[in-house]
Symmetry: C3
Subunit: 419 residues, 3 copies
């Protein structure tokens, strides 16, 4: 089993200790292969990872693959409606069983020697094998999987952290959005030349929004912070919040976020980091679209477009922003020290028809522009933090407190893994 030598652990501890609170991470965190290996073992292979959406596999036998850290995992809808996660590796000679990234199967038949498994991974047939072997021991290896309101999470850990607290937080907030009866309007993949942590660091502050995200800041309050929420903005937010609260309560939608600025991640003590909240949009915006107006039919339980914006996140690889009419999911997957594969998924109501009920030209731009602005930022930062001259600077306590929280989480998990 690949693990870490005493010297390597000492070296990792030294790296962890070298970080000055209130500052960014030192250069080795973006530069050392050893660190990436440790992140894979202590973070990516320990926690829960977003794999995809329930609506990508509506019917029994539907599957898609999620490939992470060299592993290919099959997410497949079972006959009883549940989802299983199975490693895409034949138990005979190790061939992948599903070559295509998504599809539908009656049974899994390995293309090499036709060992045949049912949809749950149980080995059914193995022509040509000798007597005396036990088929029941040779089913496809399973991974842990949890489905919550249209999101599918997996864990590659032997014993993953308890998912229940996350489930209890996420489920009630997300339920009204109706993501369990959504459909995929568009999937886009990006190969961003930046370390995965830089993508999160970017996501965890809106200090950069004013200049970089002209579309985003029109709709949102969260680029305002304690230091620059002028009275006019504070009053506006108060009014919007009061109005939204009254209205949403009547619809059974909890308002869980009423301040400016970004929300914090709760509960870093249980080794699982998630959040879910609903927050008001700026007056005149009932949707994160370029016009602020809906770009698709209302989703889920909503009867009025004025539901603010719903936000769900789980470290280390997932966030979703949903408006009344559509949702946008981002999934991160590291590819080496200086690369991150990023998948964006746009969701609309399952009954909405493209060309009639919505158009990609109006559905995509708000988040596509904002995302591409962020990817460029991450790339610029990657170029700089690789430099020998890079020294971590001070973080703004007004504007980068959530980034500081992210780094605290990250360092805590790493330290806990290294032991």
């Amino acid at each position: 089993m690949p693990s870490f030598t005493t010297t390597e652990r000492a070296s990792l501890k030294e790296m962890i200790a070298s970080r000055q609170p209130g500052h960014g991470l030192p250069r080795p965190f973006y530069h050392e292969d050893l660190l990436l290996r440790a992140e894979m073992e202590f973070i990516w292979r320990q926690g829960w990872l977003f794999a995809g959406h329930s609506c990508q596999i509506p019917s029994p036998g539907d599957y898609f693959l999620y490939e992470v850290d060299g592993d290919s995992v099959i997410l497949i809808r079972q006959d009883d409606g549940s989802v299983r996660a199975l490693y895409n590796v034949c138990r005979h000679r190790g061939s992948v069983i599903c070559g295509e990234p998504e599809g539908h199967v009656k049974r899994f038949i390995c293309p090499y020697h036709q060992w045949t498994y049912d949809r749950s991974g149980r080995l059914l047939l193995w022509r040509g094998m000798q007597e005396g072997l036990d088929k029941s021991e040779l089913g496809l290896h399973p991974a842990h999987v949890r489905e919550v309101e249209g999101f599918i999470f997996i864990s590659l850990a032997q014993e993953p952290p308890d998912f229940e607290p996350a489930y209890r937080t996420i489920a009630p907030v997300v339920h009204p959005q109706g993501l369990t009866h959504a459909k995929v309007a568009k999937i886009m993949d990006f190969d961003v030349h930046a370390n995965w942590k830089l993508v999160w660091e970017n996501n965890r502050e809106c200090y950069h929004c004013n200049v970089n995200h002209p579309q985003y800041i029109k709709a949102n309050f969260d680029h305002y912070n304690a230091d620059d929420t002028i009275e006019r903005i504070a009053t506006q937010l108060e009014k919007v919040t009061a109005r939204s609260k009254a209205k949403w309560e009547a619809q059974g939608l909890a308002v869980t976020r009423t301040e400016t600025g970004l929300t914090e991640f709760p509960d870093p003590d249980h080794h699982i980091w998630y959040s879910a909240n609903r927050t008001p949009l700026v007056d005149g915006f009932v949707c994160e679209s370029l016009t602020g107006q809906p770009v698709a039919p209302l989703m889920g339980d909503y009867t009025d477009p004025d539901v603010g914006t719903l936000r769900v996140r789980m470290l280390p690889n997932f966030w979703n922003h949903s408006s009344c009419d559509h949702g946008v999911t981002v999934r991160l997957t590291p590819s080496g020290l200086t690369g991150t594969q990023i998948r964006m998924i746009w969701l609309v109501d399952e009954k909405a028809q493209e060309g009639k009920d919505y158009d990609l030209e109006t559905l995509l731009p708000f988040w596509l522009l904002t995302a591409e602005q962020d990817w460029q930022i991450c790339l610029n930062q990657q170029r700089g933090v690789s430099s020998h001259a890079y020294t971590p600077g001070p973080l703004s306590t007004y504007k980068e407190y959530n980034l500081e929280n992210f780094l605290r989480w990250y360092l805590q998990e790493m330290a806990s893994g290294i032991g």
Copy 2:
């Protein structure tokens, strides 16, 4: 000299010991750089490697290059008709001497400072060098080379294993095929994203043939094994064998393989692994072609197309299948842990003329299709064995006994090298 530290040797021994008999190789065998280095030193630089065909360099001064493990070796026909293997590295400043992969030279003239060597590698001229140096010590470094019935093998070892047993086995079986007066009809190169051992593992069993090789199984018996050779097939094989035996003995062709299933590698005890045998084809097939009929003029000593199929192999990088009218050679060269460069060479009689006596459209497909089917299989397996979830499964004692032999050879050689 690059070699292995005590820690590295211990780590290699642990890997070797981790393999469970009757099962595939564990993940590190396809994943660790250390292992690849050890394979290069203990297998690829120790044994004999197929470089190319005698007929690629018919006349004195004709040469071709074989590039393996960072080394470029010149195979050149000498004035006395023999072949020499010379490292393509000038003894002055180390420039390659032959830039082109094949050609004809009177003498070797280094393009850098025109140091000049004769065809045997002896240094003749070195304008501008001072007195007091000894030219005779500065000839091109030679590698070991052996030519056997149209095949050229080299060894990069200081003291290669004794080639005589291989020569004595291969020469009489191959002689009637007339490969010494053949010509190249086609060379094709493939860059297969799979570890070189996976290519051999695939080659050493026909368990996968039924579904994957629709063309191959029409012509051959070797996908039948003890467990599935039904009576009709057994009878058919018996008849074909009896008839072939009588006929071939009359022509002086030894029948050396009369059972279904793949032949074993003989003689792993002498650190050289080769085999050569002739085996019958299915009734109605006198050629490994799509129709079963010859696709080129008869080769060598053959007067009747019904000569079955001739098969020659040498580990770690060579096999040849020859029919009455053409032969197909496969040469493997590792390129990193997860890549293999594969060259296929189609041979016909030297007097055969393309467009008149044979066409590539009928000559190539049988083995080209079969090969490409195999490369896809290997690629699928590479994807899977890279997974952390890959665990080696049991091998079929009915169908994968030669694969087990291959692995035994491999592990024995590695263990012997590690010491």
Copy 3:
């Protein structure tokens, strides 16, 4: 800080010791990652590196980037006319500040959070940061920089070697060339698949010129050495030298090189390696051009084209050949063990107009052909020295004495760094 373990230092010392005087470098010098790391630390990050030309940034606020060993350095003209070298890394979160390879700025504004620096690197503005932080400590990190007669050199070292001796040698020899009021006629970039030392080894001898550089040898004497300077050539050189000397002295141009063969590098004892000299061209040539005649207006102080050729070099990354009418600069930057990025810059007088006073078709070929011939040579050598069979050969004491000097310099610097 990444540095070297005791084992690594021992291994480096062993490599250094393995080199036999009067011979090339052994294979590990072109093959081991450890060695490249050591070269970066002990040579490239210790000495002075040529970055570019003064005339690339004539006006205050003009800048260009030089990227080396993962670092991006901004060379920017200051308001007082001097040049500064600033690391292109924001002191906040490490983003690069200048994305474009060259341009003009009033102030540096980081694209991420708009931290704003003046042209000298001083931090001016940082909207949103908390009280109690000291702006004056967070200016852009500077690198050392020296400008000498139109050449800009930088050093990434904390304490670079004294530049004064180099300045005193180079300035008077280069001054008449007028490179401070030149302009760039053409920049070309080459990605050469060869270790940076091979490019220097090639540059440090003209043993290879006869056959490889048909254009170059028509104009120059330096491919003649003690062993092959026939009487006719010696007489010719003597005449040219005498004539040139008289003429040049009248113009205040020092003749600093009158023998055939290449000049030596002076002063390896002060850890800085440079040379600058003027040397005659062959009769009939007053310019390193294909015809031997000027291809652009006279530069600098020259009133007569017959000024021979001016040559300036500094290890590890720079040389310039200048004729009466134009200069050609070569800048080397390692990219890994087996790659060198090479930039060539052609300079002419700043008042010369393309299409009227000069044409690229006549300006470029002499050095472009010669350079491309050399890059091919280096590539051939790289292929060979990677071979396990490569053994360093004897160097010609007649023709490769400067290469021996280069290697001595290199090994001395490495040994001194390793300690």
